[in-house]
Amino acid sequence: MNQSSTNAKSQSNIRTTIVTASSHNELSPIESAIMDCCNTLHEAQDRQDNITIREMHDQLNALLEQYDQTDGENHPNPAWARANQRALALSAMGKIDQAIRLELTALKYADTPRRLEISYGNLADRCLRVGEADRAVEYFLDAINANPESVPVLITGAHSLYESGYIEQADTIFKTFLDNPSLMTPSSELGAYLDCDIRTRNLCEHLPSLAMLFLRWSEISEQGKQQSNGGQS
């Protein structure tokens, strides 16, 4: 637990995250644009790039307005989608508490396992970012109940478990990924987290299986580069 609380302090400064989608074909044009803006905004906040932050705020507001006007771009479940997209934007803007409240509203309208998984998973991630690790674990368990195969949910779960002091269980998640090399393709969700998520990178100091996973990932990336260099010569 001591280790956990020390880590909580070291990770408490990181309040940004990454946004992924299980398939880009599923997203409408505005949803894709919102996702890209959110990721750019999170990255800009990491860099404290105020110009990009302002620009992305404006763009997100315009996109959300357009999304609302078109009733979620004719989404089959606009009540869920509109709240979910706005919560994503609020979260990227750093208004995490508001994002949580809005996602809870979206959750009321989540009518499929996939939507439940997304809403619960996002709630877990945001609770973790505001320091509510216990609550994050509960949402994680609900999310993984809705979809036991979700890689983003499992990674968020590993963070929540680690922060709550369940270190072995957090390590088990990454150990499972190690046993599933098919999940580690260049464009996979797991690859995206290993490449882009700062918090996951920071956690590898504390979890041996995650450290191994990073090692394996860097070997795979290196092999890919060597293959492409060989192909070019």
Partner: protein, 272 residues
């Protein structure tokens, strides 16, 4: 094979040969391309190959005028060979595409990189340890819920009795009750604990509404155990003396919790 038998052949192909071909492609994709080659592409390649062989009455399946059943038997028997052919037929373009993607991804921004990420179309295997860890976690959390519900009970003198009723009889349960009774934990923290524990109990009861009648009975018994003295559903106890924290709505509780301040989100899509 006679032309009039083609329809029967394709119906049988769909029914009997499709599954073994898919399995063989999955195996080949795993062993030869580290699961990067798309199974659907391989199956489509085989479909088109079988169609060409059928049109030309070609060896090794259609050269001796077999019946549809015989032809299907041969295809099923040699599904792994067909999958290997598919791999060989597709590997050059597949690895070229992978190489291009690797080069392209190396020069992308984080947002661009993330916009390309998608879930892998395979199930997580060897997850027994993970499932067992999560299952024991669920049990331990449920024990923690009971512990918090009993320890934060509003009447001090009833706490141990409530703990007994709920089965919160572990050493750590006693320790927490003693700590709270001895005012070692701030009142505000105890109120938050009570509010959360009651909300959790309410969630369990709400989930029980969706259960079949027999299970419902069991859950109700637990519910009765929980409600033997006071109503525990936080959202419904407004106006009671000394129960201010219980009258708060879930969103109000959240506002309080999130103001204490200290990966990743997912975007929804069109799919259900």
């Amino acid at each position: 094979m006679k032309t009039q038998d083609y329809d029967q052949f394709w119906a049988l192909y769909e029914r009997k040969a499709r599954q073994p071909i898919e399995s063989a492609c999955l195996h080949t994709s795993r062993t030869k391309s580290d699961s990067t080659m798309d199974i659907a592409d391989m199956v489509a390649w085989i479909d088109s190959r079988v169609w060409t062989m059928l049109e030309k009455s070609a060896w090794p399946t259609f050269h001796d005028d077999p019946t549809p059943e015989q032809a299907i038997e041969r295809i099923v028997k040699y599904a792994s060979t067909l999958a290997r052919w598919a791999y060989l037929g597709l590997c050059r373009s597949h690895f070229r595409r992978l190489e291009n993607r690797t080069n392209y991804m190396g020069g992308m921004s984080r947002a661009q990189r993330l916009s390309m990420a998608s879930s892998v179309d395979t199930k997580i295997e060897q997850r027994e340890e993970l499932d067992s860890a999560l299952s024991s976690l669920r049990k331990s959390l449920s024990a923690n819920d009971k512990q918090k519900l009993a320890a934060s009970w509003i009447e001090k003198e009833d706490r141990s009795r409530v703990a007994l009723v709920l089965g919160a009889t572990r050493r750590e349960d006693d320790r927490l009750i003693t700590q709270i009774n001895g005012d070692a934990i701030a009142e505000n923290t105890v109120q938050q604990m009570r509010s959360r524990a009651r909300k959790r109990a309410q969630e369990v009861l709400n989930a029980a509404r969706k259960l079949p009648l027999v299970l419902m009975g069991g859950v109700l018994l637990v519910g009765i155990g929980l409600t033997s003295t006071n109503a525990h559903a936080g959202e419904q106890t407004g106006g009671r003396r000394g129960m201010t924290s219980n009258t708060q709505s879930v969103s109000q509780v959240l506002i309080i919790h999130t103001s204490e301040v200290l990966p990743g989100e997912q975007s929804g899509g069109r799919k259900p």
